[in-house]
Structure formats: C-alpha cells, structure tokens
C-alpha cells in the first residue's frame, strides 16, 4: 500500500528541488566570480614587483597624461630592463621569447568600458585624480584586477563631488561621454 504523504514531503521531489536550487545558485556564483576575477594573462605580470623597484606608472602607461588611453608598454620596453636580467624562471623566459621573436605580448584588457562610453584619461590626470582612485591599489597587485561597479553612477558621483554646479552641467552632459 502507498503511504499517504503530500507531494512536497516526498523525498525524490525534495531532493530534486534542492538540486535545481543548487545548480542555479552555483551557476550564478560561478558567473559572478568569472566577471570579477582577473582574466588569465599571457604572462602573469607582477605590478607590485615592478612598482616596488621604482618604476612609475607613467613609465609604462605613457599616454595617461596626454591622451584618452593610457596604453600598454611595448615588448621593447620590457626588454630594455629584462635583457640584462637572467631568465631564471618560466615567466622571465616567456618575456625573453616574446622579445627575441619581436612579438607584441597579447595582453587581455582588464579595465574596459563599453564602446559607447568615451573615457579620457587626460583631464583626470590634469585634475590630479590619482590612478589608485579608479584602478585600485595596483602597486600591490600582481596582475591588474578589474574593479567592480565602474558604472555611470560612479563617474557622475565623482564628477558631482569634484566640480562646481556650473561645471557639473558640462561633466554630466550626455554628449561628454556618449557619442
């Protein structure tokens, strides 16, 4: 004879509900993790190390003070120092092989806005905003890490805080960032 239990007390149904929930929550978790975790780079370039030995941000990211994009260093710039260093581990050998083949290193972008957003580094650097304000404490990171919540509200909040109401008309104008 079948035991008279309501459907929601049956073991099989409960197990499947829990499984479905687990898959959903797990999937969401993995999804969120992958959007926040730094992407795999061709060479795990250690920022902390290089900034620690005294290299300025602008030595490698030369465009930041003069133009819209900061730019990434060429392989030649790495080679300028690394030619004199003994390639004692895998990563250093990778640097050497890229340089000797005269190839550019295919870095994966980390700090990225959508195509319809026109960001410009130059006015920010001129206004004295430090790199850390926006990119986090890169000096203590190994690979560059993406920063969360770099959305339109973030831009506008800071623009409002750092400007007079007259200037904010310009700094909040759609045509300043979207065209």
């Amino acid at each position: 004879m079948k035991p008279n239990v309501p459907w929601w007390q049956r073991g099989s149904i409960r197990i499947s509900i829990v499984l479905v929930l687990l898959i959903l929550v797990g999937g969401a978790g993995v999804g969120i993790y992958y959007t926040q975790a730094p992407p795999e780079q061709p060479i795990p370039f250690p920022h902390n190390f290089h900034v620690g030995i005294g290299a300025e941000c602008m030595y490698c990211h030369t465009g930041a003070a003069t133009g819209p994009s900061a730019g990434l260093p060429t392989t030649n710039k790495c080679w300028g120092c690394h030619q004199q260093l003994e390639p004692r581990n895998e990563n250093l050998k990778l640097v050497a092989s890229f340089a000797e083949n005269e190839e550019s290193i295919p870095w994966v972008p980390v700090a990225l806005q959508p195509d319809f957003v026109k960001f410009n580094h130059q006015p920010h650097i001129t206004a004295g905003v430090s790199c850390e304000t926006c990119h986090g404490d890169v000096a203590s990171m190994t690979v560059a890490e993406p920063q969360p919540r770099h959305n339109m509200g973030w831009c506008l909040d800071c623009h409002q805080k750092m400007s007079t109401p007259e200037d904010f008309v310009r700094l909040s104008d759609c045509a300043t960032c979207h065209y």
């Binding site: 959508p114 195509d115 026109k118 130059q122 006015p123 001129t126 104008d173 759609c174 045509a175």
Partner: protein, 242 residues
C-alpha cells in the same frame, strides 16, 4: 514670447552657415560625413526602399514650370533646433538637448528605436538603422574609433561632429586656453571644396559664422515652425553678388 526668444538667443552656441550660392552640390560633405561618423553605405536597393543612411544629404528639387525647369539643390542635415520637435516625443529620453553644447544629442545606448523622433522631424534629418550593414574590407579599417558603431534598430542623425567638439574643448582645456574660432571643424565643412559650409560659435558675435549669419541673404529652413534651427542658409539663385 519675446523673453523666450531672447533666452533662446542667449543660450545658442554652435551653428553652421551654408552658402547656397557657392555650394555646387558635389556631395563631398555627404561622403566625408559618412566616413567620419561610421555611417555605412547601404547601396542602391536599400536607398530605393527609403532606408538610406545619410546624416547629410543633398536635396534635389526642380524650380519653374515645365518645360522651363531647372534643378536646384540644397544640403540638408539635422538643424540642431533650439526648440526641437524630436526631443519631447522620445519615450526613453534618448533624444535630449545638450545643455553644454546646445545641440540635440542622440544617446544611442538609450535608444530603443520607436522612431517617434524621426516622424516628428520637419526636416527628415533622422535616419534609422534597419539592418546591421557589413563594411567590406578594407573599409572596415577606416572606422573612426571616436564614434560608436551603431547597431540596427537605432535612430541616428548629424551630431555637428560632437566628437570633434568635445575633442576641441578638451584640447583647449589641456592647453589652458579658451576654444578659438576655427578650432572645431566638422567633417562636412572640412571636406567642402568651395568652403560653402562654415561652422562656429554663434554666441560669439565676432566669429566668422556669426558675421555670415547676419548677411541679408540669410534665412532658416521652415523658420515659421519656430524650432530655432542652428543651420543658417545663405540664399543662392546666382542672382546675388558679382
């Protein structure tokens, strides 16, 4: 009303003068505009269906009674109205007035393609992206990185080359000076072989464009609608001047 008009006068900024006496209708401006702004060339068939994508076009019309007809032409583009009919009808506020530059901006990422704005535009200056057009190689390398590449389903129109306006402003700020007359030139004016198109700041009475706009040949298209166009035409007809 008078107060309103005065306020409009005071807030105006960028403007354009097109001298129809020296415009030869060569279409160089149309080409330059499309190249600068990543506007795809849609081809003959699509054009015939009325799905042409041109931010600037040369309107052709006939003057006189048959058989004494002569063709004339007029460049037509978004008139950047001070009181624009396209703006209040947008349900998503994608068609907005730029307070800073006093032009009509179309925020592509905000646009959902209802096409209300185009239907309300008395100048038919807005075009709609019906399809994603492929840019054949090697032309895809010509895409301008300063302008977003729009997807299908989006309304677009002449922006007075706002990317150049913003760049000129930022360049001037970086050099610690004000924007000067002639710093900012939109693609059409730059390409015009006869210099029929002049662009500048209407709020500065000394700028070239202001001076030209005070000519007695000056008129605005459909001025009676009260949309306050920022494009001023100088009457042609080859009956003026020398």
């Amino acid at each position: 009303m008078a107060e309103l008009l005065k306020e409009q006068e005071e807030t105006q900024k960028w403007g354009m003068v097109i001298d129809m006496d020296i415009c030869s209708g060569c279409q160089a401006c149309v080409t330059a505009c499309s190249m600068e702004n990543n506007v795809p060339f849609v081809g003959e068939d699509e054009m015939a269906y009325g799905r042409g994508l041109q931010w600037m076009r040369i309107r052709r019309y006939w003057e006189g009674e048959y058989p004494e007809v002569t063709p004339t032409h007029q460049p037509m583009l978004c008139q950047q109205c001070g009181s624009a009919p396209c703006e209040p009808v947008c349900p998503t506020f994608a068609s907005v007035h730029s307070q800073e530059e006093q032009i009509n901006v179309q925020v592509y990422n905000r646009c959902i393609g209802t096409r209300y704005c185009a239907n309300n535009c008395p100048f038919s200056a807005r075009v709609f992206n019906w399809f994603d057009y492929e840019t054949p190689a090697p032309m895809n390398s010509y895409l301008n990185p300063d302008v977003s590449v729009r997807r299908r389903g989006i309304m677009e129109k002449c922006t007075f080359c706002v990317q150049r306006i913003v760049h000129g402003r930022q360049q001037a700020a970086a050099e610690g000076r004000e924007v000067e007359d002639g710093d900012i030139v939109p693609a059409c004016a730059q390409a015009c072989p006869t210099d029929a198109i002049v662009f500048g700041d209407l709020s500065d009475p000394e700028s070239k464009v202001s001076k030209m706009s005070r000519s007695d040949r000056a008129f605005k298209e459909l001025e009676e609608l009260g949309t306050q166009p920022k494009v001023i035409y100088l009457k042609g007809g080859k009956s003026y001047g020398g």
